[in-house]
Amino acid sequence: MKRYVATRMATMFGVLMITLLITISLVGSNMDTILKQGIVFQVRAEIAENPAIAESFSSVEEFESFVQAQIDQRIKVLELDKPWHSPQRIGVTMYKILLLDFGHATFLTSDEGSSNVKDILFEKLPRTVLLFTTATIIISIIGIFLGALSSSKVGSIVDRITSSFAIISSSFPVWWIGILMIFLFAFTYQIFPARATPDIPSSDPRYIGSLLYHMALPLITIVLIGFGSWAYLVRNFMVGIMQEDFINAKKTIGISEKKIIYVHALKNAAPPIATILALSLSGSLGGAIITEAVFDWPGMGRLYFEAITVMDLPVIIGATYLITVFFLISIFIADLLYGFFDPRVRTGQ
């Protein structure tokens, strides 16, 4: 078991590094251009603030060469004179990112006005977790219950409705249903707010209530689209288990059908269900980008989208890193759960 955990962890760490490397190499050259422009801007601004510097030069050429020297010096300090793909710079960048030091955002700020990427990310992250974890938990509860119910009556109306709902709902994009829900319940019938961003500052005590109220519409949408396929999956696991010999044996002993389904069969379906739960928790983080953009929910997904639209590279790198970390952790947990429930995996056969 220890060895299994160790190899999995090593793989995960490797994946994390590769993800970082790919991200950096995709945005690296743009990043350099933006950073250099930033330095030029900074130097010029400092000189403009202090007119005495400009006056101390006799000719324009002399002044310009001084400015250029200043710029070059700062570029050298930040090692921007080397290309972004020099091993040294990549190493330093990756080391910094590993320690969650993402630097400062170019355009975006947190609600408090901090431009530190770390502050921004850790302000948005809890909101995404709040929305998507709540949704996933509700989905899984409804899904497990409905799935167990329809597996106990295969071919019944409940089963058919669940299965067809699962198939139909899985082919609609969540974000489109989101737009429809906004159209219906925010504008046509004004029940919920259209923008999910709470309109009172986070210091206000009523903030939490407002946040929950604004969360309702996205939550309903995600649950509505999600629970069908969950129920269908659980149903399929259960149908498989209900055909096993031990269930038949229990039936012949005379244990009640209800008890068999909800206790014995469901217990046996637990490993795949737990695995899927772990995976869907992380999967929802990635899918959050579009959903949050639609509902204007102030979480990681919308941050990511905003960062992409204005090309705020430090934020993009930071958010990608964080999403990857969460994704990997949940894959890791899913793997462990699977190994825990199914000994064959553990021993590597």
């Binding site: 793989t11 991200t23 995709l26 295969v154 994009p173 489109w176 990857t324």
Partner: protein, 455 residues
């Protein structure tokens, strides 16, 4: 997987209602694509993002069939292109007259009207516009001379109903109406009853007369547009584009993206997985580690970064989608090929000294075919929705507007807030129907391959 012949699969498939439904929808979609490609020339479609080519269309107009459900009819947008042309010459004066007949049978005033023409003339001819209404009243709209020219010249102009000259002319005829014309727009006056300011139904005739001296003038491209609030089968969007064209052309694009991505990724994953499983040992280990890495990459953030930094061309996008598509299939294909590898006939082939490639292609792959078709069908919707999602975020290929992109535009112009349902509903429904067709086919196949689920 236990030796089902293609005939059996076909038979079972035709028995499954779901499979039939899926195939039917797919056939309809393919037919739509073919019709779209034949009826709507690619050139029209490529003009999608060019505002100039949509200028004669109305802004955010509802589909015309909405009128069937309404008691009070919304005016349809009408583009009248074929006027009755009369040419009269008396001594040195020549008159070219264009007559547009219009049946106005709606309960609201039109949005505006617009006369577009280009004229070939000499000198400075006089252009007169007037309208004869159903109640017999004739209203003078405009009387203006075209810019003077000593040589033969071609002049193009658009005369809008908001033109000050038209307004002034109408206010000079205010005695014909029994209410004050102050602050009313031209179309509200022209199409109004005499007694009250309500729309007057019936046949209108718009006259455009061009008087010239010593030269027979001609009007080309004479068009009268009565701006309405309803247009076409699918309506128009804020940028005046005919949504029917976008939706129709979206079908072949979505099918192309979905099918290419799924076939390519399934084939790739299959070969990769089968090879890894067949080779086993070190090769298997390394290949599966690589598979793990791709599997652990968060797909959507990466797709976004790729399309932003590299290119948002639709063909590259298909490639990017493939990168993330093959992984799951490779895993399943590997475990299946490990099972098949242990069967007697593969051993026999091995002992006979057949080449690896021959064993894989002749003995292992055919066994996996049913599974392959099922997974191709099942992975199509994901490809379509992912592309739609990227386009929705504004990262799609602007030269090939897809359903996702139409939804992106709808979102940008706040279609939900403004109640423009015909801009939001159809693209999403099309995405869902297309996805559904493949999900149906995939599930029907899946049920045949895994009979356990059927009970």
């Amino acid at each position: 997987m236990s030796g089902i012949t293609p005939q059996e699969i076909k038979q079972e498939f035709l028995k499954s209602k779901m499979g039939i439904a899926g195939i039917t929808i797919l056939i309809v979609l393919v037919a739509t694509s073919i019709i779209a490609m034949i009826v709507i020339p690619v050139e029209t479609f490529q003009e999608w993002n060019n505002p100039g080519s949509w200028i004669l269309y109305p802004k955010a107009a509802t589909p015309i069939w909405v009128n069937m459900f309404l008691v009070e009819k919304i005016p349809e947008h009408q583009i009248l292109e074929n006027p009755d042309i009369q040419t009269i010459s008396q001594e040195e004066i020549s008159l070219t007259s264009h007559q547009f007949g219009l049946n106005f049978d709606y309960d609201y005033f039109p949005n505006d009207f617009l006369y577009v023409f280009s004229s070939e003339y000499l000198g400075s001819p006089l252009l007169k516009m007037s309208v004869i209404r159903p109640d017999g009243v004739k209203l003078e709209l405009l009387s203006a001379s075209l810019p003077h020219s000593n040589s033969k010249t071609i002049h193009s102009e658009r005369i809008f109903s908001t033109d000050e000259a038209i307004k002034k002319n109408l206010s000079l005829q205010s005695e014909k109406f029994q209410f004050s014309l102050d602050r009313l727009s031209s179309e509200d006056i022209v199409f109004s009853k005499i007694q009250t300011n309500e729309p007057l139904k019936g046949n209108y005739i718009f006259l455009v007369d061009l008087y010239g001296v010593n030269y027979e003038n001609q009007i080309h491209e004479s068009k009268l547009i009565i701006g309405g609030k309803a247009f076409g089968i699918m309506g128009t969007d804020e940028l005046r584009r005919d949504l029917a064209i976008g939706l129709l052309w979206g079908t072949p694009l979505a099918l192309f993206i979905g099918i290419v991505v799924s076939i390519a990724s399934v084939v790739l994953g299959l070969l990769y997985g089968v090879y890894a499983g067949f080779k086993g040992k070190k090769t298997d280990e390394t290949m599966m580690r690589f598979n793990d890495i791709i599997y652990a990459l968060p797909a959507l953030p990466f797709l976004i970064i790729l399309s932003v930094t590299i290119s948002n061309s639709i063909f590259l996008m298909i490639g990017f989608l493939m990168i993330f598509g093959w992984v799951g299939i490779a895993k399943v294909a590997r475990s299946m090929s490990i099972q098949i590898k242990t069967r007697g006939y593969v051993d026999a082939a091995n002992i006979m000294g057949q080449k690896d490639s021959k064993i894989i292609f002749k003995h292992i792959l055919p066994q996996l075919l049913p599974y392959v078709f099922a997974s191709i069908a099942i992975s199509v919707p994901a490809a379509i929705t992912t592309e739609a999602g990227l386009s929705f975020l504004g990262l799609g290929d602007p030269s090939f507007p897809t359903w996702g992109q139409i939804l992106h535009d709808a979102n940008t112009f706040g279609a939900a807030a403004r109640g423009l349902w015909w801009w939001i509903m159809p693209p999403g429904i099309m995405i869902a129907i297309t996805g559904l067709a493949f999900v149906f086919i995939g599930n029907a196949l899946d049920a045949i391959i895994n009979p356990k689920l059927k009970r």
